[in-house]
Each structure stands twice: as structure tokens, then as C-alpha cells.
């Protein structure tokens, strides 16, 4: 009888061979493309695999298609894992605390977590990595680098910068005979004039959720003449200036804002604006696409962008590095990781992520290049340029940032609901002071 060898015998053999091959230690260079396009000397890290952990963010979207270029040029394989912001933070903290992480490079939120991560020794100081003159570290904006520098350690390279701006509906302001608000008083007056609750038209929308609101409240606080704490580390949440800022922000949201504003972070607030239910909206410059892209917004062609309105202390908005690229101090591939960070933040790549991907970066030469600003609307570029001297922080610069945000945001929440916000601010001030003292 003729016995035919079943096909799965062949498959099994092939799999066994593959498994054995996988077990055999192979020199990394042997795995590099054997095409001979480049000599081994040009690709010292060929065969290395980098684990890059980041957020679901426009920068990730912009850089992902470019990774192939980097892999071809260096032979380094990059695995990009993307998570939601909160999940990212928890993932990083859990892996780093456990001490067994194989993360090499990760996206950091410098103002949110750089202090705590630096204190726990999780950052590799990148100063040496970027000292290469070809890289031109000086080209990165001072303010942006200042944000990622913690206790003298360069914890990350800025990749995304943002400022608070005012989004407004041109058509509604025009119809009401109003000009674009340049002061907070005008902002409030315009919000009042444009509110028509019966027709679900709200004069003003912004974040009202406890923790997320703090960053967007900051520019109101600064422009009213307040701050989180003074030079002696005394909390200043209940000063007359701060109380006026809380009152203004809360009154506008309560009287001229949509219902349910207490549960709104930026995705909910931007949805209200993009559906055409709000006339004025203050938030980060980086989310402009949600408002100005016709695919995402029904009011894209009617929306303008302006610099943050001035209060008694002037127009003082935040101007911060919202995301940086950092290296884990426990990385086994530090040299390759450095290569990647230098590549991803080089002029050439930033020109692509910013100029084509529309992710506002920190390189001055790219901003000076018309191609670097081409992806953005003209009034947006103007508003961002006018915010260049804004404050380098949008939340208190403390280690326990999340806790501080909850304390402050909780008081603003009381005000939005129409409660006794002076008492709430006094209590928040005492709690915040205790937090500041514990970090001395």
C-alpha cells in the first residue's frame, strides 16, 4: 500500500527546525538585513529591539509610519505599545516599581509625573545623549526644555508643546455685534450675550471635571494675578485673586455653560463645541483639530482661534511641554535607545511630525521654517506665537501632582455647583499647604 506522508508531518518538522533555530543564540549582527546596503560599522545596534511605550496621541500617529525609516537606517527594531493616558501612567509605574521592566523608551508627561519618576530614579539623564553637535540641542525652546528638566536632570526631550487659547465662533460673535474677547471681562460679557439655553446654545464651555479642569483653570488664575503657591511655598488657593478666578471660571460654567459640565473633560467639552452648542471655549492649543477639522467638527469653517484673554494681571496663559520622550534608567539598550530618541526629535523628523502630522513640537528652527507651520491654521499659529512667554507650568509644580489637582479641582467643583466656594477654597488651601509641607 502506498503511504502518503501527511502534510502535517512536514509542517511539524518545519516548526521544530524553526523552534530550534529560535533557541540557538545568534549573534545580533547575523540578524541584520543581509542585503549589504550598509556595512556593519554603520549599524552598530542592528538587531536590537527597542520597547517603546507611549500614549494614544497624535504624535504616536505621526511617528508610527516613520519608524520603518529608522529601522531601515539603523537595523534597530522598534515596538511601539500605545495606551490611554491613565493606563500608560499605571503601566509605567507598575513596571518600574516592580523593577523588572524591559521598557527602553517611553512617552512622559513632564508636568504630571516627571518629579515623582525622577525622585524614584526611573529616568536616564539624557544630557550626554543629546550633546552631539549635529543634533543641535540648543534649537529646542528653552521653556520646553525647562519643563522636562527636573532637579538638574534632563528627564526627557520635549515632543509636544501646548498653550491655552480661546476658540470662538466667528458667526455668532458677528451676529451679536461683538468683537473677539481680548479681556476676561469681555469674555464673560460675550458668554452671557451668546447664551440661549432654551435653544441649547451655551455662551461658554470648558472643562468642569475635578482633576482635568485644573490645567485649563490655570490661565484664568494667572491672568487674575494668582498662582498655586508663592516663593515661600505658601499655598495661595484662597487669596483674593484666586477667589476671583475661581468665581469667574465657575460662574461662567454655571450660568453660561451646558448642563453636566461637572463631568466634562476635554473630549466632552470639545464635543459640545464641535456640535455647535457653544460659542466660546478655552482649552489647549493642541486639540485644535477636533474643532477645526471639518471631519470632526460641524463648525470648523466658523471657528476662530485667539490668544487667551487678559485679566487684571495681563494675558498670562500656560505654555508647556505636554509630552516628552524619556529613557528608562534600567534599559538594557541605552545606546540604541539614545539613537532612537535623537532620531525621533531631530530637525528632520520634527519637520515631518509637525509639518505634516500637525503635532506642535519644540524646535525653533522648525517653527521658523514655513513648512513647519504649514499644517496649522494661520490664526492658530498667531495665537500660539503670542503665547510664547506664557508660564511654563499649567498645574502646581509638586511631586504629588494628582493629589494637588484633586484638592484644587474639588474646590472649583464646589463653586461650579454654586456652593460656598470661599469655605471650600480655604479648606483646599489648608490641605494643599499640608501637601506642600510634606514635600519639603
Amino acid at each position: 500500500m502506498h503511504v502518503k506522508k501527511p502534510w502535517y508531518v512536514l509542517v511539524t518538522v518545519v516548526m521544530l527546525v524553526a523552534m530550534l533555530a529560535g533557541c540557538t543564540p545568534v549573534a545580533p549582527a547575523a540578524q541584520a538585513p543581509a542585503g549589504g546596503e550598509a556595512a556593519a560599522g554603520d549599524m552598530p545596534y542592528a538587531g536590537t529591539t527597542l520597547r517603546l511605550v507611549g500614549a494614544n496621541h497624535p504624535w504616536q500617529v505621526a511617528i508610527t509610519p516613520l519608524l520603518a525609516e529608522f529601522e531601515a537606517a539603523t537595523g534597530i527594531k522598534v515596538n511601539f505599545e500605545a495606551y490611554g493616558e491613565d493606563q500608560l501612567n499605571q503601566r509605567l509605574t507598575t513596571e518600574f516599581t516592580a523593577g523588572s521592566s524591559d521598557i527602553d523608551v517611553f512617552m512622559q508627561r513632564p508636568l504630571q509625573e516627571a518629579r515623582v519618576m525622577q525622585m524614584n530614579g526611573w529616568y536616564e539623564d539624557l544630557a550626554a545623549c543629546v550633546s552631539d553637535p549635529d543634533y543641535d540641542f540648543e534649537d529646542l525652546a528653552d521653556g520646553a526644555v525647562g519643563t522636562t528638566t527636573v532637579n538638574g536632570v534632563l528627564t526627557g526631550i520635549p515632543i509636544v508643546t501646548e498653550q491655552e487659547v480661546l476658540y470662538y465662533r466667528k458667526d455668532l460673535l458677528e451676529a451679536a455685534g461683538l468683537s473677539v474677547p481680548t479681556t476676561l471681562d469681555e469674555l464673560k460679557a460675550a458668554a452671557e450675550a451668546l447664551t440661549d439655553k432654551d435653544n441649547e446654545m451655551y455662551g461658554f464651555v470648558a472643562r468642569g471635571q475635578r482633576s482635568p479642569l485644573v490645567t485649563q483653570f490655570s490661565s484664568f488664575l494667572y491672568s487674575m494675578g494668582g498662582d498655586w503657591f508663592d516663593e515661600n511655598r505658601q499655598a495661595t488657593i484662597n487669596t483674593p485673586e484666586a477667589l476671583a478666578a475661581i468665581d469667574l471660571y465657575a460662574t461662567m460654567l454655571r450660568e453660561y455653560g451646558p448642563p453636566g459640565v461637572l463631568n466634562m473633560s476635554w473630549p466632552q467639552a470639545v464635543a459640545i463645541f464641535a456640535q455647535g452648542n457653544a460659542a466660546l471655549y478655552t482649552d489647549a492649543s493642541s486639540i485644535y483639530a477636533n474643532v477645526l477639522d471639518p471631519e470632526l467638527s460641524t463648525v470648523a469653517d466658523k471657528t476662530g482661534v485667539a490668544v487667551f484673554p487678559a485679566g487684571p494681571a495681563g494675558s498670562i496663559m500656560y505654555n508647556v511641554t505636554s509630552w516628552g520622550l524619556a529613557m528608562y534608567s534600567g534599559s538594557q539598550n541605552k545606546d540604541a535607545a539614545c539613537e532612537f530618541i535623537k532620531w525621533a526629535t531631530s530637525k528632520e523628523i520634527v519637520l515631518k511630525t509637525q509639518g505634516e502630522g500637525a503635532v506642535p513640537g519644540a524646535r525653533e528652527s522648525v517653527w521658523a521654517d514655513p513648512a513647519g507651520a504649514a499644517a496649522f491654521p494661520a490664526d492658530w499659529v498667531e495665537a500660539v506665537a503670542a503665547s510664547a512667554n506664557g508660564r511654563g507650568y499649567d498645574r502646581p509644580l509638586v511631586t504629588a501632582v494628582t493629589e494637588a489637582r484633586d484638592i484644587i479641582g474639588g474646590a472649583v467643583n464646589v463653586a461650579i455647583e454654586g456652593g460656598d466656594f470661599t469655605a471650600a477654597a480655604n479648606e483646599a488651601n489648608a490641605q494643599f499647604q499640608a501637601l506642600l509641607d510634606s514635600e519639603q
Binding site: 509605574t93 448642563p259 459640565v261 456640535q275 494628582t402 455647583e417
Partner: protein, 292 residues
């Protein structure tokens, strides 16, 4: 040789895997949490995992957010449990009252909410509760009724969350009570009917007292689940607006995974564990007395 060893030590060897599992997965984490609750471990304060005595517990006693969380937890649990028990038992009695066509279909449909993943349930209700665009307020507006803020108002948030919990978990009570009803002997009912008792008399004097052990088991199960409800609250409000739906579980989560105060969070967990164990023991104990 080995066979003899096994034979002689059977009673140790056979349960060994289970014992090891319980020690590794339950005793060790509990003990470690207890140890942590006496440590100052905090990533944000830069404190290592060293013993600091009962300081965390002392700090908890003066922590306004802790007491707020205790209140919210009890409020949510009491409201959810009472509504679910009353509704669940009532639905079970209704379903059990009479045989009719399609009874099994009705029962199956009733059980559907329980099958859904709580996070998905949270997302769906989140959309329905949305004050401006949500379907609930749309319908209320069409009928001419006022539109509440639901989970966006600090007074209405817990009742709204209870509504979701009731929707999802009342069927569990119904299911357990139905099983209990099926197991009841028929003689007492016949005797009561012969004696001329009305439906309500039978319900109050015969059915419910005989069902009490079943209801208390169902209640205990729901109590433990309610008090540690996390997914729907986290998914829908995250403890907000402000702190008005921050339960003990959410507060512990914030302390551990947002503030990185592991010691403090462990102390919260120990207190939480004590409350749950205490009440469970109380219920078990009183049940035993009821049965005697």
C-alpha cells in the same frame, strides 16, 4: 518506596496543591497588605516600605475624604441593596405565581442584564445619562418633564448609579429567590389555604418567613458585591462630580494608583476588609440563629 510515602502522607499530600494556592493567592497578599498598612510606603513622598506604626490609621481618622467615602459607600450599598431585594423578591413571586406560556422566555430575558460586562454597561448608561445629548433626557424633554442632571449633579449621582446597579443585579436576587421558592414544601401552603388564609396572609406568614434564609443569602451576596462596587462607578463618574460618588474602593484606588501612597491605601483596604468581614460574619451568625 514512593508509594508507601504517598500512602502514609495522603492527607497532607492531596490537599497540598490547594493549600499552596490559597496561601500564595490569599494569605500572602492579605498579610502583605496588612504589613504595608503599617508602613509609610509612598512613591510621591519618596518613602520606602518601612514600618511607621499605626500612623496611617491615625491619619485616616481625621481625613475628610475618608469619612465622605465611608458615607458614600454605605449610602450606595443601603440604597442599592434595599431596592434590589424588594424588587428581586417581588419579581420572583410574580414569576412563580402562575404557570403561563413563555414563562421560561420571560425568565431568560430577565437574566440578560447580568450577562453584560459591567464596564460596557457603564459606558452605555453614561451615554444615556448625558444631560444634553442622552436618550433619557431627550425622552423626558419630549414628554415635558424636567431634565435632571443624573450623574452630573452631586445630589443625584448616587441614586443614578444605584439605578444602574439595580438594573444589572436585581435579576440575581430573582434567580436565587426563584430557586428558593421551588424548594419550599407544599404542605404549609395547602394547610394555610384550607384554613382560609388570603394571598397576603400566606405571603406574610408562610412564604416570606420560609424564604428568609434564601433571601438573607441573596442579600449577603449582594451586600458584598455592592459594597465593593468599582467598575460602574469608576467607568461612569470616577468618584465625581467633586467627590460626591467617591466610595471607599474608588478612594483606595486613587490613593494607590494616582497618588502612589501605597501604605495609606493599604490601611484603607484593611479597614474595608474589616467592614466587609464583620458584616458578613454578623449576617451568617444571625442566619444560624434564625434557623435554630
Amino acid at each position: 518506596m514512593i508509594t508507601r510515602f504517598i500512602d502514609r502522607h495522603q492527607r497532607w499530600l492531596f490537599p497540598a496543591p490547594a493549600v499552596i494556592f490559597v496561601v500564595l493567592m490569599m494569605v500572602f497578599p492579605l498579610g502583605y497588605t496588612l504589613w504595608n498598612s503599617f508602613s509609610g510606603w509612598s512613591l510621591t513622598a519618596g518613602r520606602p516600605n518601612t514600618f511607621i506604626g499605626p500612623q496611617n490609621y491615625i491619619a485616616l481618622m481625621t481625613d475628610g475624604r475618608f469619612w465622605n467615602a465611608v458615607w458614600n459607600t454605605l449610602y450606595f450599598t443601603a440604597l442599592a441593596m434595599s431596592v434590589e431585594l424588594v424588587l428581586g423578591v417581588a419579581i420572583a413571586l410574580l414569576l412563580d405565581a402562575k404557570d403561563y406560556r413563555g414563562k421560561r422566555v420571560v425568565t431568560s430575558i430577565l437574566l440578560l442584564p447580568m450577562m453584560a460586562t459591567p464596564v460596557a454597561v457603564a459606558m452605555v448608561w453614561l451615554l444615556m445619562f448625558e444631560p444634553t445629548a442622552g436618550v433619557i433626557n431627550f425622552v423626558l424633554g419630549e414628554v415635558g418633564l424636567p431634565k435632571p442632571l443624573w450623574i452630573a449633579g452631586s445630589n443625584s449621582v448616587i441614586p443614578s448609579l444605584v439605578l444602574v446597579d439595580v438594573w444589572e443585579w436585581t435579576p440575581l436576587i430573582t434567580l436565587i429567590v426563584l430557586a428558593g421558592l421551588a424548594g419550599l414544601p407544599s404542605e404549609p401552603f395547602e394547610a394555610a389555604r384550607v384554613d382560609g388564609a388570603s394571598y397576603w396572609q400566606i405571603l406574610g406568614r408562610v412564604t416570606l418567613p420560609m424564604l428568609l434564609p434564601t433571601i438573607s443569602v441573596a442579600g449577603l451576596l449582594r451586600f458584598i458585591d455592592c459594597i465593593k462596587t468599582f467598575d460602574i462607578i469608576y467607568g461612569m463618574t470616577g468618584g465625581g462630580p467633586g467627590f460626591s460618588s467617591e466610595t471607599l474602593n474608588i478612594y483606595t484606588y486613587n490613593q494607590a494608583f494616582y497618588y502612589f501612597n501605597f501604605g495609606y491605601a493599604s490601611a484603607l483596604l484593611v479597614i474595608f476588609f474589616t467592614i466587609v468581614t464583620g458584616i458578613s460574619l454578623l449576617v451568617t451568625y444571625s442566619r444560624r440563629r434564625l434557623e435554630v
